[in-house]
Point group: none
Chain length 523, copies 2
């Protein structure tokens, strides 16, 4: 079975995407997730270019990776200095990794207009850089920038650059379509030629999506003989992004039977894609191939009828292979089935014919229409079902709350919450401050409840997300708040939706506390 190595550059080339800005801890979390997915190489950053990337490599000393190898990135030495004097190259030695990717010029246009050196000088720069680093015992991958543009316009020179890198000791040469404008047929033809010219070399491909064909180009590259594919998760990256590794991995494994990540990890593709979207603060693309929410969602009546008879009729693969699932849109049949499956997992006694089932479905449909999204808030959904089935009553009743936010010139803004609740017949009236209105409200609510429910001190909010739903109506837009809470043993998510962010946060806070108390069987 043919094997291809997956080289992830989400943390370096991906971070050039508009709107992306990772903290060092974000980068560490992403690297660990990529390692669990089973990619072979993780390009962590450019240690010479900014202190954040250097700190990332330092932090990674403490995190042993299971299977992936960390790679540091840099460019060839600057003109007019020796390799050993180049600050960028020296900082690579401090990064503490064994593999270095060096990007170098291959296109004579760049050599002339950007580097402003002679073609021969550029060849010398490539050789010096690779030799210097290999002499330090490092493994070098050579990224030939703009290779396809270079080959198209000055074929001999582009080949001379590759030869220089290989002769200087590079372990792999990676052909980059840096501007992303090359079409698939040209990629196939050129890679075929390079494969023949350098029969023994390890060859990689690095595509960008400016022509909308980066995934197809990467796969065509593999079919034409490359053994390494560079890309990013979800295709994030500068301009139109890099080649998206998610469909590349899925297509290579499922369609072409090529070894790349371990078999058992394929089903993690959906969760890895969503995790990295979240950390990148990007919206998950519904229509993303293989892993999007709509990827296996059926809407047309003709399609739904056929899917029920045989899923192959309108699905190119079984969605569970990549950790995704089928969705039947706006269909009472599909809806009820989902609710029954969930009820079963909660050991709630509910059947398809039970009128309660229809009532819950109608409630869910109404709430989702208003902007709730129970897929992301399973604790709130469980409470909704149990409330509908009268399986518990609320742990407290709100009488009122008030939040006061004050700001005086040049002073820090203050937030204070005053709350009145009734618990087991007793009235509690208390107040607390916080870092913001929601934090103040959270503090006041716990303060009011703590004497009645001491286990609340075990839990804390671990995540807080706000999404504006219909962004076109200015500050009166509807907002969705998702809160994630945790205690020593569990993590749970709750939701609130309102035109008012405080109201939405309050709903999610209440659900979070009620879920904790219900879980502790205090009801």
């Amino acid at each position: 079975m043919k094997e291809v190595k997956i080289y992830d550059t989400t943390l370096r080339d991906g971070s050039q995407g508009e709107g992306i800005s990772y903290s060092v801890m974000d980068k560490v979390r992403i690297a660990k997730e990529l390692d669990l997915l089973g990619v072979q190489f993780i390009e962590g950053g450019w240690p010479g270019s900014n202190p954040k990337d250097m700190e990332f490599f330092r932090k990674m000393f403490a995190h042993k990776l299971k299977s992936a190898k960390l790679v540091a990135f840099s460019m060839t030495r600057r003109t007019n200095i020796k390799a050993e004097e180049d600050a960028n190259l020296k900082s690579l030695l401090k990064a503490g990794v064994e593999i270095i990717t060096i990007v170098g010029k291959t296109w004579d246009l760049h050599v002339r207009e950007v580097l402003k050196v002679s073609p021969e000088e550029n060849i010398q720069i490539i050789k010096d850089t690779v030799k210097f680093l290999t002499s330090k015992g490092l493994t070098i991958f050579y990224d030939a920038e703009h290779f396809f543009d270079a080959f198209r316009t000055n074929r001999d020179y582009s080949l001379a650059c590759l030869t220089a890198a290989i002769e200087a000791g590079a372990k792999a040469i990676c052909l980059c379509d840096t501007n992303g404008g090359t079409l698939t047929s040209e990629i196939s033809r050129v890679i075929g030629e390079i494969r023949q010219k350098f029969p023994g070399a390890s060859i990689g491909i690095h595509c960008h999506n400016d022509a909308g064909v980066a995934v197809a180009n990467s796969i065509a590259g593999v079919e034409a003989g490359v053994d390494m594919v560079q890309g990013t998760i979800n295709g994030i990256g500068e301009r139109c992004g890099n080649a998206d590794l998610i469909p590349i991995i899925a297509n290579l494994k499922i369609k072409l039977g090529i070894k790349c990540i371990p078999d058992g990890n394929l089903k993690n593709l959906t969760s890895v894609s969503h995790f990295i979207s979240e950390i990148s603060n990007m919206r998950v693309k519904n229509e993303q191939p293989f892993v999007g929410d709509s990827a296996f969602a059926h809407k047309g009546g003709m399609h739904i009828n056929a899917i029920v008879k045989d899923p192959h009729t309108y699905e190119h693969i079984d969605p569970t292979l990549v950790g995704n699932h089928r969705r039947i849109l706006v269909s009472e049949l599909g809806g009820k089935t989902g609710i029954l499956l969930r009820a079963k997992s909660l050991e709630l006694d509910l059947s398809k014919e039970d009128p309660q089932t229809k009532k819950i479905l109608q409630l869910v449909q109404k709430l989702e229409h208003e902007g709730y999204h129970f897929e992301a808030a399973e604790a709130s959904f469980e409470l909704l079902m149990k409330r509908a089935l009268k399986k518990y009553k609320n742990f407290f009743e709100l009488e009122s709350f008030k939040v006061v936010i004050e700001k005086h010139t040049n002073k820090k803004l203050t937030s204070e919450a005053i709350i009145k609740i009734k618990v087991r017949g007793t009235k509690e009236h208390t107040a607390a401050e916080g870092d913001g209105p929601v934090n103040a409200l959270d503090n006041a609510l716990r303060k009011a409840l703590k004497d009645f429910y001491p286990t609340l001190s075990e839990m804390h909010l671990s995540d807080f997300k706000v999404r504006v739903l219909d962004e076109k109506s200015g500050t009166a837009a509807r907002v969705r708040v998702l809160i994630q809470s945790q205690d020593e043993s569990d993590t749970w998510s709750t939701i609130g939706v309102s035109e008012n962010i405080i109201e939405a946060s309050w709903q999610a806070l209440v659900d979070s506390v009620e879920y904790k108390l219900l879980k502790d069987k205090l009801g």
Copy 2:
């Protein structure tokens, strides 16, 4: 020069996309826009399937198209009845168009499991349907559903279906990758064979994006000999969508020099894409090839430096060819060049050596480290530069504000803001309510300023985004607020960052108002 016909199915297959729901008037507006772009065929809908589509065709009698031809869609006759008795087919005759696309089964799996008829019976159904419609003087295109799956599993039968359609009088056969799972190399190979088998026939291709390669497949189809491409604008459609006609048209014309839409219309691609996104109530994808806001946006310092020397260095085409434009993003990665370019566009006098330039860069880096993100808030960045260069002073001074949010059981939450400001030496003290704390604050601020700056009544907030930055610290996390404002002539974006959402919103609100006043030259 080779010529390919563009067949748009945004109004039919595109409308199957999750979240898409066009009114009849939406469909009319889209059809007129497609006609101006210059596509050859506009598939308007399925008149037999719903009254809305029939009404669309009726409405279109009144709208003469310049160059495109309207097409109506339907499936082959139902089993066990005559073609002339089929309600679907009869309704086609009422649609008043000259061209009909008929989709029919081609894959024996579907014939067996979905239609539940014999293979011979399906061939008869195809023949009857095409013959009936051609006998009425209509031109028929035959969409061979699941053609590539069919060819892979039962090649002879799939060919027999094509032959039946052609012999019955179909003017074109269109090969559909209905499940969207076929890879590019297989598309090329199969189309090559079909082209040879049916040398005289007009052949089309219709791809879906489930494997992430629909654009590449459509282009490979053209290179292998098809003369018609079916797809949708922005690739909308069921599951992962149809092939996106935007990059297909751009690639065919610019990269391959193939005639498809008139030369002069290529520059309308960006506006057509954005217009149809808006009508479809979909977010414009920033990273969409050719037409996205980020498609020619440069962020890395090395890229920005090279782009200034020669745009070809990091752009695959001239963005103005497709009606898009270059953007230089201001970020910590962009360095001094980004700031100087921006200063130049604002006619601010600033040079690379000016100590102010370094000061502004350091300020930007510090603020971006804290979570500001100026590439998304160009108005705030302009104010930052002008403040740093002492090019204006603030239009008002805040003394204090207070926001009070109150909730009583079962009553709607109320939000009230009280504000004290000083404008031109005069104190203003006023209050207002709103749909939430930010809306109340916005209302109070405008109320306090309106007598001094009447042009503020021209502006309103058009978009409000909240992002939680370090989501792992519960409700004390830092939030980034982005506000988009507009008046009759302009749209501008401002930003605020704080641990407190109200503080962050206040910063963005103040910038939004100051920008408007500065723009109106009231400073």
